[in-house]
Symmetry: C2
Subunit: 108 residues, 2 copies
Amino acid sequence: MTVLSTPASAKRVAVLKALAHPSRLLITEALMSGELCVCDLRDLVGDDVSTVSKHLSILRSAGVLTCEKRGLNVYYSLVCDCFGEFLRCVDQVCALPPVQPSVKINCC
Amino acid sequence: MTVLSTPASAKRVAVLKALAHPSRLLITEALMSGELCVCDLRDLVGDDVSTVSKHLSILRSAGVLTCEKRGLNVYYSLVCDCFGEFLRCVDQVCALPPVQPSVKINCC
DNA sequence: GCCATTCTTGGTTATTTTGCCAAATAATAA
DNA sequence: TTATTATTTGGCAAAATAACCAAGAATGGC
């Protein structure tokens, strides 16, 4: 990592890294419908609870998720309501087929 | 990777992964001002050319960048004009301080 | 108190990613 | 042709990531 990055860029990288994993993206997509506890998310993802817990920890420290403990359960939810918008943006950034056709498009 | 992900999610992950690296994000941000050749980007990033070339290959196969060869140089540019919008979205997804204050905000 | 449940943390191993060097490829100039 | 410059590719060692198991911490029920 030879690059000297601004604090803003560093935070962006942390968010992108947090979301750049199939299970973590799935978790985040699921939370668009509302909060879920860890065991719900374990059922969704299908991994060991400890693995899911670590994924949640990564998403939390990136600032994407918050959590709240109620009784025995810990409920996770999205920090920001704009996640759907975000996903739409992701889809548009690479809207073209991955093979490089040297064409530019207007999206957004 | 126990998760069964839809093709759409798989592509999203590929894009996010491609952008989730300091050098690659820096490269992409730089290309918002217009195309640059590999040696420009090597100067920007400060890594070995081979390293930069591999970063570019990752961004290209994720569908984020296109390239065009002119003479000895290969010029890279963004596939989509909406990258600024995308970055704004990234910033908003985690707009709160990374410590979890159990507060929700409206952004976007 | 003790036990069951939920979640997190520590430790280990396997896999993936990163970044360098050296070599190969491509285009152009001499 | 040979040399020069720009870029890509292969290979390797180091670093980071992922996923499991086992153990620990917190809560609630008995």
